[in-house]
Each structure stands twice: as structure tokens, then as C-alpha cells.
Symmetry: C3
């Protein structure tokens, strides 16, 4: 029933100290793991907890191993990145559950011209429009909508109630969570005499491989060109991506982030929750934006960037906010003081003192 | 057809001045209430409007009653909290409408192993997966998805198009609005060589009794442990709750609030719109956070906390924002002035003056 | 197959320079347009690109025309607002595609008392409740929910998975994108002993003509009165509109904006992404609020308003944020300096100097 440690090491590498035949069934935290669990130590400050864990086996780094091994008598998998090893092991242990049987639920409405791979799984009340393509092993859960000529890659999983509009494309092994809307019209208008005139949005959303998209996140289709989400991008819940954005490979965004149209964002960036990115700007690779920060202009240099008003007890904030509004007056007073000081010879006096 | 005042007082208490047989059919504002309406006075500044109201009856406080009674000749229900009395009365008058007939709509797809109480109501195009439990009097409106082994308590109401994922639990008398997604995967990854590796999210979302969840709000399931929403919590629309958060009983959050993973929030707190709460922090009971405020660290003391940049005409903001960026220079200039002043003996002179 | 330039000029006006029989099939950007495309010049800085475009025809202004005509030998439509002309042309060229056949999909559940115009189009898995009215040429795509007695105007288009609740009204030619929720309950509670008591929300959402609503946007129904969205309003994705708001005609809001209850917003306003509007305030016509700005109080004068903390490299922000918290100290020091300066006669010295 369980998974032997041998099997894990063969698959994910690492050096095994202990009996390769030991079986584990579950990942558990250090303090709650029992005799059939495997646990992990990814933070050296928890060495003591690891040493006293009752887990059958531990995943840990070469740095922590000697110390822990002195007191802990279970098996140990030694690896340079125990947290990543834990993630892979957890995926492996979870994945051994029964997958749903492939096929199309009788309540689903699939157009005759759509091509659904026989190994794909189409849930109840799903709609698949004309010309859409659903890849091998893909799972489209209940209530999803797949627009005309849209394409879903191999083993990509749409949770219930995803909307994926016409001609949009997503690659392999993606995960799209419930309520996400991919390929809604971009927000593009011309103005004539104060009246908005809609500009038809005829581009697509093109999403790479291994992309995760959170619940109720919206990604708009491009106006003329496409909106592009590159490989390995991870988007949390309730994110807004405007039309014609490009999000570079392996960039991650936390919940409630907003990206205005035509922003061009590099690879390996991170954005904290509710960060807001202006449109028509470029952000370099390896830029990290703190939560709650508005990015009005391009960022050319990698690094961490921040900009939110510090929180305080309300009365204190009222004082500081009033002073922020009066900074110009304060600067003026300083200038007057500097002039006075100069007239009195104060600077020289200070230097002489 | 109407509800007699006697019936209200028997049910909700209060002292009745006037004929207990008077019938009312509707709640209406003071200035628009007519001969079959009941109205309420919850703000003493509106005493004059109350005195001249044409409502059949008024709900008001002992403080306001003598003044109003001098001019107003309708019936009066006197109670210490007229606004709460109004809310209960309004619920009671609304609730007397016809409820939908219990049963499962023929277009719904309900797994044979799901247990749906015969008094529950399952709408069109609903999907109920294996092992799910739907309590007595629960209403699951059209297009909802109820995942495997999920559990919905007595008299809880899901509006159309709610997604409620596997193994999640909600108690009695809850209200979940359309587009809400409960139990999507938490946003958890290990990083290996710049690549994100998904950590399976195997916890649940466990929601207490009398919880309201707004439209398009998302609450993620826990990684190993559960995400917990305690009794009486009220969440508005478009809120994001990360994995493994705890929201204490009777806490309320306005629209667009974001809460990052593992935040532990106390009871009886309030959060204004678009407040953002960092992950892995603790917030005490009775903390009140103003709209638009980012909370980066734990808050141990009750009280009101604020932190947003004050709005101004754009040109004025540009000036103040530039000065905020130059505060270090300003402080430096003040230090220089202080040194100069000291050298000149200015402080003593000021004191002597 | 194409559209003759003559046809465009007859429909949308403008002065045509060139052969009226030229046919175009598509709009394309200046640098990518080919022999059957029409392009446009809306920014004089792109004159050179226009001059060398291979488009069959260009839309441009009288100001740009002479310069471009010197080098460009295609046809030209000269108009005062080339961008608006482009939008109308693009709509016209897109609209010539085949519309879906009218009728009700067999999987849709439409109540016998609902009135669906025979020219309307009801998609798969749609639910239309009792008493609802769907106007001529309206398109209700797959998975939408139309509540009891709701009303959808002529030629209004709901994309897949829209929720439109009981008694709500939308006018003609509207577009509602996927995941939008119109008419969820407003967030209204009375408090009694720390417990929230729900106030029934019995108002509606009433939406005018030519209104666009973005993906996953939520608009709450009023408490007693209605929430009102006037003609020509354009709302982007993931916007929250609280109960009893009024949004004036031809106002536009970018993604992630939040508007708290009972805000009364004028006409021809614009709101940048994630702007947050407090409840119970009035905003005049022609007010423009920058992205990321919180509006706590009423705004009476037209103009642009801004209030977000400037972004900086993280270390620099930490310094400035600490100083913002210490502004009161800084002001105190300036006062001390001013007193010292006065005692020393520095001001007079400065003036004398």
C-alpha cells in the first residue's frame, strides 16, 4: 500500500541513510508525523523537532543531517533542497490515488467538430464548442466552457466552472482553478465626444506549459496581437491580466495582483499580493515587487521594490498623513532656516566647533 | 396578508405603544413609508422625519420615543437597538414569501452515493459529486458544483454558480453568493533552480455556522491542515483568503480584501475594503483595519489601524510624493541646522528668550 | 468578400482620397498591414511608419495627411478622430462574421413563464427563471443564469457563465463578460451584541444601454432602493460595486476598482486600476482618479486626483517609510530650530544678508 523509500530515491535522487524497504503512506509535519509518515526539515531552526520526530523517515539537507542523525533513528533522505524534494514526494504520494475514468459525461455538450482525446475526461454540464481541441489526459471538470477553436494541452486540468474562450491556447500540465476566465475581451475603447466606442478584441490568450492559474483570475485576450503567458508562470487567485501583456517564464504573482494592458514583464519575477502594474511598461527579469506596491513606470534593474504607506494606529496615521500633505511647507521652513543659518555664519561655527 | 405588530413583539421583544392588531406588509424608509408599512429610526438626527412619517408603525429607541411620540400618532415599538430590530423584522417579512419546492431538478447530476436531504432544493445544472452531503432545507441554486465528500449544513443557501470543492465543510444557515470558489488549491510551491514545484494542497476549508460569503470570493484549502472560517464571519465580494488562514468568529471583511496564507485573525475584527493582510501573522481580537491599508506584521493590541497615502489633486500629490522620496535629505538638512544652531548657542538663546 | 472603402465612408463619414472600389478585409497595425488590410494613424509620432506602410488604405487625420500622402501611395480616409474611426471600422469588419442561429439550446432550462424573443440565442446549460424577459437579438451564452423576473435588453450579449439575479435589468447593446455577478446581495448588517444580523437586500441592479461589464466583476443589488449603472458605463474585470451606488453615464473604471455602498459617482469620470472609493460619498462629473488611489471623501471639483505611495528600491523605501512615521518628530525639530533662529535674530540677518 505504501511507497518504499527506495522508490523515492530512484525517482528523485538523494542519498538514503536507512532501510530502503521502509514504506511511507503520507507526508506529515515534523511534530505530527507517525510510524508510516515521511516528514521533512527545510529550516535548520527546527533541527530539535526533527531529532524528536516519530516519522518513519525524514528528508533533510547535508548540513542538518549529522546533528539530526545523532538523536533521530528513522531513515533519512539527504538532498540539497529538502523542500523541493518534499514537494515532489507529496505530489507522488497524492498522485497514486485513482484518477477519474476518461470519457465524456452524458450531460456535457460537445460539438461534433471538437476533437476530444479519448483519454481526456469531460465532466458534467461542460460545453465544448466547434473546433476545440482537448489533449490526452486533460481533465475538464463540471460546468467548464471551452470556446470555439480553443486548445487545451496534454494533462492540463481545469477545475469546475472555468471559462476558456474562443481560440485561446494552453499548453501541457497546466492547472486552471474554478471561476478563472481566460480570453475575455480586453478593455479597449476609442473616445468620440465623450462616448466610448468598443475596439474589437481579436487577439488570443496563449499560455505555455506548466502554468497554474488561480480561482477567479481573469486574463484578457489581446486587441490585435495575443496576450502571452510563458512556461511555468504561477498566478494566484483574483488576479487581473490586461490585454496584450506578456508574463515571462517562471514568474509568480500572489493574489489580487492587477496588471494593466500591454505590460511586458520579465522572467523569474515575483509580485506580492495586490501589487498593481501599470500598462505599457517593461519590467526586467528577476524583479521582485512587494505586496501592495503600485508600479507606475518601467523597472530596468533586478532587485526588490516597495511602495506602500506604513500602517499605524489610526490617530498616529492621521498625524503623519496630514504632515505628508504639508511636506512642501516643511521644506520651505527648512530653506528659510538654512538662509538664516548662513547669514549668522552657523555652518562655519558648526565646522569650527 | 400582513404581519400584526403583536406577532413581531412576541417574536423579537420590545415594548409596543399602540394597537397590537395593526398589520404591516413591508419595511420602508421614513420618508417613503405609507399606511401599511413599518419604518425605523436608528439615528436621532432623523427625529423630525420620524415625527412626520406616514408609516403605520415605527421601531425606535427609548431615547427618541418621547420626542417622536409628541407628533407621530402611529404605533411604536420601543427597543434598545432599533437597527437590529429592523433587520430582524425585515428578514421576517421577506421570509414569509414562498420558498422553492424541495427536490432535485431533473437536469442536476447527483452521484448515487451523495446524501441529499429530502427537504433540500437542488437547482438546474447542479453537480453533486460522490459522498457529498446536503443538509435539511439547504438550497443549492442552478449551476453550483459540490465536490466529492463535501458537506453543506442545514438551511445553508448557495446562490447560482458557486463552486464548493472536495471535502470542504460549511455549517448551518450560511449564505454563499454566486461565483464564490471554496476550496481551490492554496498557492504553495517549492523552488528548485528557479522552477516552481507544486505542493499538493490536501487540507480542507472548514466553515462554521451563520457565515456569509460574497460574490466571486475565493477561499483556498489548506496545504496539510485546514483553512478555518469560524461562526458568524461575514465576507463581502471579491475577497481572497489564502491557505491555512483562520478567521475568528464574527469578524467582517469588506470587498476586495486579501489575506495571505497562514494569517491568524481574531474575532470581532473588521477590515475595510481592499485592506491587505500579510501571511504568517497574528491579528488580535477587536482589531479594526481601515480600507486600503496593508498589514505587514502582527497586531497584538485591539484598536483602529490605518495606512494609506492621502489623496490630493494630482499636481499636489506629485510634489508630496517627490518630497517623501527625499525625506532622508530633509532629515540630513535638519541635522546640519541643529549642529549649526548648537554651535551658535541658539538653543540656550531660545530658552533664555 | 472584402469591404469597399466606399462602404466605410458612406457609413462613418470622412473624406476619401483614392479609389472607392478598393476592398479591405482586416484591420492591421501599420507595420504589419498588407495589400488587403486597412490601418490607421492615431499618433503623429508614427507618421514615418504610416508613410512606409504596405496597407491598402490608411485612416488618418487632416493634420497628418499631407506629410503621409507625400510618400504613401495607398488610399486614405481623412477624419478628425482616426482612432474612433478605426474602432467603428473594426467593429464593422468583425461584425460581418456569421452570428449564431437564434433559438434555445435543448440543454437550457427555460421556465414556461419566461419570455424569450424568438431572435434571441440561449446557449447550452443556461437557466432562465420564471418571469424573466430576454430581448430581441440578445445572446445568452452557455452556463449563464438569469434570475426570476430579470430583464435583458435588445442585442445585449452575456458571455458564458454570467449570473444575473432576480429582478435586475440591463438595457440594449450591453456586453457582460464571463463570471460577472449582477445582483448579489449587498453587504448590509445590523450589529447586536457583536453578532451580525443580515438586512435583506430587496432592491435591484438597474443598468442602462451600451454598458460593458468585465469578467468576474460583481455589482450588488440595493438594500431598499436600486443600484444604478447609467448609459454607456464601461467596467473592466474584477470590479466590486457595492449596494445602492450610482455610476453616472459614460464613466469608465479599470480592473480591480472597488466602490463601497451608496457611493454616488458622476458622469464621464475615469478610475485607474485598483482605485478604491469609499461609501456614502459624492464624486462630481469629470473626475479622474489615478490607479491605486483611495478616495475617502467626496470630490466636488473636476480634475485629476492621486494618492499612492511612490515605489522605490526596497532599502530606500524602508528609510522613507520610517521617516514618514517620524514626521511629527521632524516637525518638532523644525519648530525648535525656528525658535532658536528667532532668538538669535537669524531671520533678520538673512533678510539683511
Amino acid at each position: 500500500m505504501g511507497t518504499r523509500l527506495m522508490e523515492l530515491v530512484e525517482r528523485f535522487g538523494g542519498r538514503l541513510e536507512g532501510d530502503p524497504q521502509i514504506e511511507v503512506t503520507r507526508i506529515a509535519p515534523l511534530d505530527r508525523a507517525g510510524a508510516t509518515d515521511i516528514s521533512f526539515l527545510s529550516d535548520s531552526r527546527l533541527r530539535a523537532a526533527a531529532a524528536h520526530s516519530r516519522a518513519a523517515a525524514l528528508i533533510l539537507s547535508p548540513l542538518d543531517e549529522p546533528d539530526v542523525a545523532a538523536a533521530y533513528d528513522g531513515a533519512r533522505i539527504v538532498t540539497n533542497n529538502p523542500y523541493a524534494y518534499f514537494a515532489r514526494t507529496a505530489q507522488y504520494l497524492c498522485g497514486s490515488g485513482a484518477a477519474p475514468a476518461p470519457g465524456i459525461h452524458p450531460s456535457a455538450v460537445v460539438h461534433a467538430s471538437a476533437r476530444v482525446d479519448p483519454t481526456a475526461c469531460i465532466g458534467a454540464h461542460v460545453t465544448v464548442e466547434a473546433g476545440a481541441v482537448i489533449g490526452a489526459g486533460a481533465m475538464i471538470d463540471a460546468g467548464c466552457y471551452i470556446g470555439p477553436d480553443a486548445s487545451v494541452g496534454e494533462r492540463t486540468h481545469f477545475f469546475a466552472n472555468v471559462t476558456f474562450h474562443a481560440r485561446c491556447v494552453i499548453g501541457a500540465r497546466g492547472i486552471v482553478h474554478s471561476g478563472a476566465v481566460i480570453g475575455g475581451d480586453g478593455f479597449g475603447f476609442a473616445v468620440d465626444g465623450g462616448i466610448y466606442i468598443k475596439i474589437p478584441q481579436t487577439g488570443r490568450v496563449v499560455i505555455g506549459d506548466d502554468v497554474d492559474i488561480g480561482s477567479n483570475t481573469a486574463i484578457d485576450r489581446g486587441a490585435l496581437d495575443d496576450t502571452v503567458i510563458e512556461d511555468g508562470v504561477k498566478l494566484d487567485n483574483l488576479i487581473q491580466i490586461g490585454h496584450n501583456c506578456r508574463i515571462g517564464a517562471h514568474t509568480a504573482m500572489a493574489g489580487c495582483v492587477g496588471v494593466a494592458g500591454s505590460a511586458n514583464i520579465g522572467s523569474h519575477c515575483t509580485f506580492g499580493g495586490a501589487a498593481m502594474i501599470n500598462g505599457h511598461i517593461d519590467i526586467a527579469d528577476n524583479v521582485h515587487v512587494t505586496a501592495g506596491t503600485l508600479v507606475p513606470n518601467s523597472i530596468a534593474a533586478p532587485g526588490r521594490y516597495t511602495g506602500f504607506y506604513p500602517i499605524a494606529p489610526n490617530a498616529e496615521w492621521e498625524r503623519s498623513a496630514a504632515l505628508v500633505r504639508n511636506l512642501a511647507t516643511m521644506r520651505e521652513k527648512i530653506k528659510v532656516l538654512e538662509r538664516g543659518m548662513k547669514a549668522l555664519g552657523g555652518e562655519q561655527a558648526a565646522r569650527a566647533g
